[in-house]
């Protein structure tokens, strides 16, 4: 059954990276409860444009929960109140009529605001460029089971590979640490034989870049895991901690 919601939005508005931002309050009346959060913002933006107000800038791409482009902090939670959900897959039926919704960008020194809710996640790209790949020659497409990989290992690698790099882990971390993201990337390659060869350089270089970007230090509070739309496990962080120690004791 379709309902319509009447909401009050408190949205972070910031002209660009150099300007000081502030909250603006907008009314969002007659919102279809089956609209996604981003569709709700589209409707609000249409109305703002008619009034001659600059629409709210936000990142989005696939709107299917698989690309990692969207994301904002909704009422204090990265990607909103639903677990394992990206912002585009959050639906307005999860809110109540007359709710006030606070919408803020992901906050971290290493994720500077570009405009309104859009943040610069190029730090993640720079971390990936330090080891998020396999550079050994692995040949053409192998025959099935030519390289035996235990099912449990393959599953762990695939679980880690689900990371879409949305940065909700950083947003949710009290210290704005990027450990969950980096550990997912480190793990998904290191668990497979093709990626295992370079695991030592990978973890050393990716962690070094992570630190250089100005992400915080992990204090094992596991809020990243709770916020992750893909359910990336903190056991990946433990694996990265182990690998980092091992590659510091005996470097590659």
């Amino acid at each position: 059954m379709n309902e319509t919601l009447h909401l009050t939005l408190k949205v972070w508005r910031q002209k660009d990276g150099h300007s000081k931002g502030h909250f603006e309050t907008y009314k969002a009346d007659n919102i279809d409860s089956h609209a996604s959060f981003l569709e709700m913002l589209d409707v609000v933006n249409d109305r703002l444009a008619i009034q001659g107000i600059e629409p709210i800038a936000f990142d989005h791409d696939c709107r299917e929960g698989i690309c990692g482009a969207c994301g904002a902090v909704i009422n204090g939670r990265a990607h909103g109140p639903m677990s394992r959900t990206t912002l585009c897959q959050l639906h307005m039926r999860n809110f109540n009529n007359n709710d006030t919704i606070v919408i803020e960008p992901f906050r971290a020194k290493a994720l500077p605001v570009v405009k309104d809710l859009v943040v610069d996640r190029s730090g993640f790209d720079r971390i990936l460029s330090k080891g998020g790949f396999v550079s050994v020659r692995t040949g053409g497409t192998p025959d099935a089971n030519a390289t035996p990989i235990a099912k449990t290992k393959a599953d762990l690698a695939m679980d880690a590979a689900q990371c879409i790099g949305c940065a909700a882990c950083v947003a949710a971390c009290p210290n704005a640490a990027a450990m969950l993201f980096v550990s997912a990337k480190v793990s998904h390659l290191a668990l497979l034989p093709q990626g295992e060869v370079e695991k030592k350089e990978r973890v050393t270089n990716m962690v070094a870049q992570m630190d250089q970007e100005g992400f915080g230090n992990c204090s094992n509070e596991y809020l990243c895991e709770a916020a992750c739309p893909k359910g990336i496990s903190i056991t990946n962080i433990a694996r990265m901690n182990r690998q980092y120690l091992a590659s510091s004791v005996i470097p590659a």
Partner: protein
């Protein structure tokens, strides 16, 4: 290479974790030693004297312990300062509802413990155990008497209990945290580690806290 490790985020955390682990071991030994108080003044003072008789070995242990404390505090301070800088603009909506009390209080319980340890050293470690303070019913009870006299002071008793609650909070987060930091984690055991952490933390804090209460409710009425 060592410099690179110790200046990296994971290296710093593992340094905090390994020094924290040593401090937990020390605490458990300290608690075991304290339990001699239940055996009465002679045994307790004899235990203290045995420790004293170690001489240079004891001095070495004390200096090593001081160094471990200093490293633990220095690296933690670095990590906390960096973490504060990593989010210059905070969230308007409350973001930390899921944070446990122990994790939120971590730096503060740490500071309470640092202050407590200073007062503790002056109260017991550096104190003269041969003064009139230690005399009960015309008997010089040495360190045992000093401990009893200290806990007769309600301010010292309450301060001790506050500090021990801080120990409980600090350790209940710390034990599972140090396991995770060294990469000991498995979906099947993680919930056990968290329970172990809470249990050990609260257990150690209770173990220490029972002693002044035992003094207050049991020893003092028999000595006065």
């Amino acid at each position: 290479m060592l410099k690179k490790y110790f200046s990296s985020s994971i290296g710093k955390k593992q340094t905090v974790a390994v020094t924290g682990f040593m401090l937990i071991l020390f605490l458990i030994m300290h608690l075991a030693g304290n339990c001699f108080i239940y055996a009465g003044p002679e045994t307790f003072n004899k235990y203290a004297a045995t420790l004293e008789s170690l001489g240079p070995v004891l001095k070495l242990i004390e200096w090593a312990l001081t160094a471990v404390f200093a490293i633990h505090i220095a690296f933690t301070a670095m990590v906390v300062i960096e973490n504060k800088k990593s989010r210059p603009v905070g969230y308007a909506a409350s973001h930390y509802k899921e944070r446990s009390l122990a994790t939120r209080l971590m730096p503060y319980t740490g500071i309470i413990l640092l202050v407590y340890i200073c007062t503790h050293l002056f109260d017991f470690t550096f104190a003269d155990t041969t003064t009139a303070i230690s005399i009960f019913q015309n008997h010089q009870l040495g360190l045992y008497g000093l401990v009893v006299r200290s806990f007769m002071n309600p301010i010292k008793l309450v301060w001790y209990l506050i500090a021990m609650s801080a120990v409980g909070f600090h350790l209940s987060h710390a034990i599972q945290s140090l396991l995770q930091t060294f990469g000991v984690s498995h979906p099947a055991y993680t919930s056990f580690f968290r329970k172990l952490s809470l249990g050990l933390g609260v257990g150690i804090a209770l173990g220490f806290s029972i002693i002044p209460l035992y003094v207050w409710f049991y020893i003092v009425p028999t000595l006065i």
